[in-house]
Amino acid sequence: MKRIITLTVQDRSGVLNRVTGLLQRRQFNIESISVGPTETEGVSKMTLVVEVGDGQRLEQVTKQLNKQIDVLKVSDITDKAIVVRELALIKVASSSQLRTEIHGIIDPFRADIIDVSKDSLAVQITGRPEKIDALIELLRPFGIKEIARTGLTAFLRGYQPQVNEFTAYSLSK
């Protein structure tokens, strides 16, 4: 199962290596990872999308990550009310005649054209990964020259509805 795990970490050298090394050692596949600074100086946030076999393995990886000295907090937010975004840059082969047609495709996705050259143009899109996948499929017939994706980043919504199925991986459960 695919899980979204966020980590707040101390911004020290080697911390990314520590996290990815640990996941590799315990045989977890990282689908995407994004890192950046937070509102607190010296604290970074990582968003990981990992493929995990079962709940027991998930609990194990969460605990192993928590054990790292530079890791402040680990949360599996997959089942929470969350905001999820990813950014992608897509370079599409395009002559000047096709530009309008491409415009028509990307418009409903609220994507932008951010670079144009003689035989290609670059589209920028933000949204949930599925939305990006969908646009890529629509653009594929034109000939995609290059794709760069940031990987997903996410956090909890301001309001968390009360749910009975509360998936917290705590020991008191």
Binding site: N66, K67, I69, L171, S172
Partner: protein, 577 residues
Amino acid sequence: MKVEAKLEFQTSTAPKTGADLLIDLLIKEGVETLFGYPGGAVLPIYDAIYRAQGRIQHVLFRHEQGMIHAAEGYARITGKPGVVIATSGPGATNLVTGITDAMMDSLPLVVFTGQVASTVIGTDAFQEADVMAITTPITKHNYQVRSIADLPRIVKEAFHIASTGRPGPVLVDIPKDISAGILTEEPEEVLIHLPGYQPTIRPNPFQIKKLVDSLSKAKKPVILSGAGVLHAKASAELTAFAEKHQIPVVTTLLGLGTFPADSPLSLGMGGMHGTYAANMALYESDLLINFGARFDDRLTGNLKHFAPNAKVAHIDIDPAEIGKNVPTQIPIVGDAKEALIQLIDETAGLEALEHQEWLEHLEQYKQDYPLWYQHDPHGMCPQWLIEAIHKITGGDAIVATDVGQHQMWAAQYYNFTKPHRWITSGGLGTMGFGFPAAIGAQMAAPESTVVAIVGDGGFQMTLQELSVVYERNLPIKIIIVNNGALGMVRQWQELLHGNRISESILHSQPDFVKLAESYSIRGYKIDNQEDLIAKLPEIFALNEPVLVDCRVIQQEKVFPMIAPGKGLHEMIGVKPQ
């Protein structure tokens, strides 16, 4: 305070360097002994050690692997971090085995490695190795010092992290320009600030109550006692708790000595070469209370058959160990001693529990299927050798072993009745560990009798440390259980690989007696039981190191045994009825 203010005072001496500061910080941490080996990148540190003569002891080993195992032995006996210093590159990479060993067996170490100067890090400079990347997965934490001003904080944090919570090795990598750098300012007092590291010491009272409740209902409870009990110094509490409620106790390999082996409640060691009674108790139990053991595969055997009917309670200071291998119904995160104190409190009003039927049942196993071996009047049985050492030392020696058959025989036949006497490489199974670990133990406990029980294979991996033993006149008794083979490998080849004895016989060996003598150490070669009985009193009366090359029967195997992939109840080589 600016250093200028002190200049007048210091005119006659060299200015203080980062290395001098490091030594001051170590002394402040209470470090008495450094296990070290010099080299290019740590020359400034060795300058500072030279200047600090009389304030701190440095022991020069002959190989970095030997010295780090010695530091592990020291840590195992004192409970304090063993402090290691090695140079960059090969000095650091030679430590890798010992660091990993300490990580697996939760031993506190603080390891300082030299590093090339900051300006050339990353240029493949002479003796440069990426020690941070190499040691990230094998340390509890590691640091590279980027400025002298960080040293006080890093050293303090390193000792704190190594010795608290679940202990482990911490490495501090110090570039040469940092250790050689001149201190311009006396650093300020630092406080530890580790928001990501707050080990849980006090267990959740609710979970303790749950355990008490289960205990009062259990018919077949059993305690599994691991090395966590040693770290928590909780043997006395464990013994009191088990005795009060008449709960039988199984110890892990590393947990030997946490519960007196001569107690009627003791079932001995569990696991691959454990006793039949211990393994059957785990197998049949309805409540398994694990104090500070990590359910290693050598203990559990095939997990499908591990304690199939038991409710499992697991007390561990490391939450990641709980539920890792064995599903756990009562998870208790905390220090074993705290948990035991709470448990004793919580059960104070409880009528002493009776498990007479269960205890009698297990006693029958003990009587019917004890550890056993066939005496051979013509040769020396290795098991008998261990029993003889037990006898001559009154069962109270510190015993360090290597890895393999002799290790299992020592675990089986040296009945430990006290904690902190047993030093062995459990998790990593490191050959070459035992002899240097005994050196560290003897340094930690100069008055104690220390016996290094080693195999002829493993001893040859780190025997160069005989120099240290001679230099320091450490009265270690080195017992080589010499079967001319890598015995455990040979045993597995015999039993599990169609008797194809592939590369596990040591066809040529040094004359160990002459070897010892070349290091000015007394040596004996003994190949029969009478001679051993005659010589042992003399050997153990000597207040100097002695090496004893004991020629034991080569074909002897370690039994009973759980073959790989088998369950606890499927032991082979149990004493026939």
